[in-house]
């Protein structure tokens, strides 16, 4: 699955999220690739999923790509739970 993580500058929280998603992917044998982008450059990109901190996610309107909103970037459990829930809901398609 291809994931875009988004933050204000594309190198802080977005990179932290992407690294965490890749390690979750490894743990559950889900292939996760993607890129960390800033708020202007993610638009128009194709991906299966967008992941961002809650304050950033709020500003992503009208995206055709599903958005996961993470309240606490340092909470591995929150990220894992939300990601797996998304993965399990979508894998049948």
């Amino acid at each position: 699955m291809y994931v875009i993580t988004v933050c204000g500058m594309g190198f802080g929280t977005s990179l932290m999220l992407l690294m965490e998603l890749q390690s979750i992917g490894k743990k559950h044998n889900i292939k996760v690739s993607g890129e960390a982008l800033d708020m202007s450059s993610f638009k128009g990109k194709k991906a299966d999923l967008i992941v961002a901190s809650s304050e950033i996610a709020k500003t992503i309107d009208g995206s055709e790509i599903p958005v996961l909103s993470i309240k606490n970037i340092l909470d591995k459990q929150e990220i894992e739970d939300k990601f797996l829930q998304f993965f399990n809901q979508n894998k049948k398609e």
Binding site: C7, G8, M9, F11, G12, T13, L15, M16, M19, E20, M39, S53, S54, E55, I56, K71, N72, I73, L74, D75, K76
Partner: protein, 153 residues
């Protein structure tokens, strides 16, 4: 294994006084300047980024990670740690008030990915957060980030 220090003693302040987010980011930036990590103009860029991009830098309860784009205002990749005596609000609906600021500076992508890995590794452990929020011992705090490097291998 080489013993690499990610957090320099000059970049740590455990009892800072600030009234506004701007004051706090300024003090956090001063730490990076003290530790020869960045130039004062990088501090201005962090404050500017907070103004334009908002409170999402409060990435977890009580913890903010101010940063700006990596460029020539940064002398070497690094981070600092500023603890406020009195927590202040940054405007984040869930993670306010902020007690701990971790200003981050990157020069190139590779170096700062390593820093982010160390930070994520140390900060995702609640016991470490307790130490960061309460310890009076600078060395204890610095050692957390060395141990983080080792655990990461």
């Amino acid at each position: 294994m080489k013993n690499k220090t990610f957090l320099l003693p000059d970049a740590v302040s455990l009892s800072a006084e600030a009234k506004t987010p701007e004051d706090a980011i300024r003090l956090a930036g001063d730490l990076l300047v003290n530790a020869h990590i960045s130039l004062p103009t990088y501090t201005d860029a962090m404050i500017e980024a907070f103004h334009t991009l908002g409170c999402y830098i409060v990435l977890a309860p009580h913890i903010a990670m101010p940063h700006a784009r990596p460029d020539n205002q940064v002398l070497k990749a690094g981070f600092g740690l500023l603890r406020l005596n009195e927590p202040i609000k940054f405007g984040h609906p869930e993670n306010d008030p902020v007690k701990l600021l971790i200003p981050l500076a990157g020069v190139d992508n590779h170096g700062h990915i390593e820093l982010l890995q160390i930070l994520a590794c140390v900060l995702s452990e609640p016991m470490n957060i307790d130490i960061l929020l309460s310890s009076q011992d600078v060395n204890e705090i610095i050692n957390l980030f060395d141990a983080g490097k080792i655990n990461e291998e």
